[in-house]
């Protein structure tokens, strides 16, 4: 199979990126040292090509009502144009079809940004929900757009240095808000636990933007650093921490499921019937002897759990993980993770591990 490429692929290759197949896309995993890229984002600014993710525009008179039924979080919260909301889209069994961000621009125009590996499935699912609801709306995948994330404590400053004309429109943005600046959508969102922007722009504009931001000191960072950053920030990764068979309630995403009123969203009945069966918590490896990884078993006093994402945390200098654990396990408990032939001690902690450059767990 030929891998799909983003408009920045040649730029990545020219700058020495090591690339991998990520959801069918040839994407940079690092440009040298993953750990140094990670630190650049925590301390200054890093630059990510996330054009493999897909923007999907929903347009028509009934978009808000459609999304109130399609998503587990309630887009009724989006009252001001530019506001964004993180949500899961569920199947009828309450499993997660995808996790996504919804941006509200006008009553007849919302934009979703969905994961790369699930994009085709999401489009098919949205099409099915539209047919079932009879809603009048168009669903447009925007493969003509590219997405760049600039993240870190100095990210916004570096972006404004490169593009001073965008400052007036984007400086007032609070977290999870976006502004349209010409043909660019600039959002104060990200997947690193740091401040910064995600910029959605015409594919033809992305190479000059990348080169300008990199020349201005934002360090290109690959999916490797993106994964250690999001894990430290306690953010879920679709396909690893949850999938079609996982309830958001068992994946630490209950905070995104809005059950406040009687809204009848897809998957709600199944969620309410099934309830929460496991809890999603962080682990900090206290023994030495390896690195926590996905699928390792966790022994607790209440039964067995499993790591869904694990890595070595560059900020903490220790291995960390996100895990689904039996109900009753408490923060502060010591549990044991099976790493090869050893049972290594780990402490149960509340994620995030790191936010805005600050370590939030005791080492």
């Amino acid at each position: 199979m030929t891998l799909k490429t983003t408009p920045l692929n040649a730029v990545h290759k020219a700058s020495g990126a090591r690339t991998v197949d990520f959801g069918g896309w040839d994407m940079p995993v690092n440009y040298g040292s993953q750990i140094e890229e990670h630190h650049a984002v925590r301390r200054d600014a890093g630059l990510f090509d996330v054009s493999h993710m897909l923007a999907v525009d929903l347009e028509g008179p009934g978009v808000r009502e459609f999304l109130r039924r399609a998503l587990a979080n309630d887009v009724a919260k989006l009252k001001t144009p530019g506001k964004a909301l993180y949500s899961c889209m569920l199947n009828e069994e309450g499993g997660v079809v995808d996790d996504l961000i919804t941006y509200f621009f006008r009553e007849d125009w919302f934009r979703l940004v969905v994961n790369a590996g699930t994009a085709e499935k999401d489009l098919a699912w949205l099409g099915r929900l539209r047919s079932a609801s009879g809603a009048t709306l168009t669903i447009t995948p925007r493969r003509d757009l590219a997405i760049v994330a600039i993240q870190g404590p100095k990210a916004r400053e570096r972006f404004w240095q490169a593009y001073p004309a965008t400052r007036a429109a984007t400086e007032p943005l609070g977290p999870f808000s976006a502004a349209q600046v010409g043909t660019w959508m600039i959002a104060r969102t990200g997947y690193t636990g740091e401040d910064g922007f995600e910029v959605i722009l015409p594919a033809g504009d992305v190479v000059p933007m990348w080169e300008k931001l990199a020349a201005g000191g934002a360090r290109p960072a690959g999916l490797g650093a993106r994964d250690t950053l999001r894990l430290e920030a306690g953010m879920n990764l679709y396909g690893q921490d949850m999938d079609d068979a996982t309830s958001p309630l068992d994946a630490g995403l209950a905070w995104t499921v809005d059950l406040k009123d009687a809204r009848d969203f897809t998957g709600r009945k199944a969620l309410e019937r099934r309830g929460q069966k496991q809890q999603f918590l962080g682990l900090l490896l206290t023994d030495s002897g390896g690195v926590l990884r996905a699928h390792q078993k966790v022994r607790t006093a209440q039964g067995e759990g499993e790591i869904t994402s694990g890595t070595f945390s560059p900020t903490l200098g220790k291995s960390i993980a996100l895990a689904r654990l039996p109900l009753g396990v408490a923060v502060g408990d010591t549990v044991h993770v099976l790493v090869r032939d050893k049972a290594l001690a780990a402490r149960v902690v509340k994620a995030p591990f790191v936010r805005n450059g600050k370590t939030l767990v005791q080492p």
Partner: protein, 126 residues
């Protein structure tokens, strides 16, 4: 890809060097460290262990993956590099200085059966 001429290699990306005392130092190649990325954990075997050629004797873990270390030849583990536990990144800095353990070979001629630099270069770029 750095592949010193004077060393011997395996297809599983170990290098082997004969020392003056007849023991053989083992590490992972520059190509291996480059593939693994930032190395954060090295588990070396216990000294005194007798090993067969091809036996898994330790583990290297990078941020992204774990990889076994194999014994290129049969013999007895006589020394381990304790410095690597505290400074696993030294494997990234200089893979051929960062030896992991030493074997006293059961049969010293076994070393000559391993890949030479030219053969390893071919194997590693395949």
């Amino acid at each position: 890809m750095k592949i010193p001429k004077e060393l011997r290699y395996t297809e599983s990306h170990e290098w082997a060097r004969r020392e003056a005392d007849g023991t053989v130092s083992i590490g992972i190649t520059d190509h291996a460290q480059e593939q693994l990325g930032d190395i954060v954990f090295v588990e070396a075997p216990q000294a005194g262990r007798k090993v067969a050629a091809g036996e898994s004797v330790g583990v290297v873990e990078s941020v992204k993956a774990a990889s076994d270390i194999y014994a290129p030849i049969a013999g007895e583990i006589v020394a381990v590099n304790a410095d690597l536990a505290a400074a696993p990144e030294s494997v990234n800095e200089d893979a051929y200085a960062a030896w992991m353990y030493r074997i006293k070979p059961a049969n010293p001629a076994d070393l000559d059966k391993l890949l030479d630099a030219a053969a390893y270069e071919k194997a590693a770029s395949a």
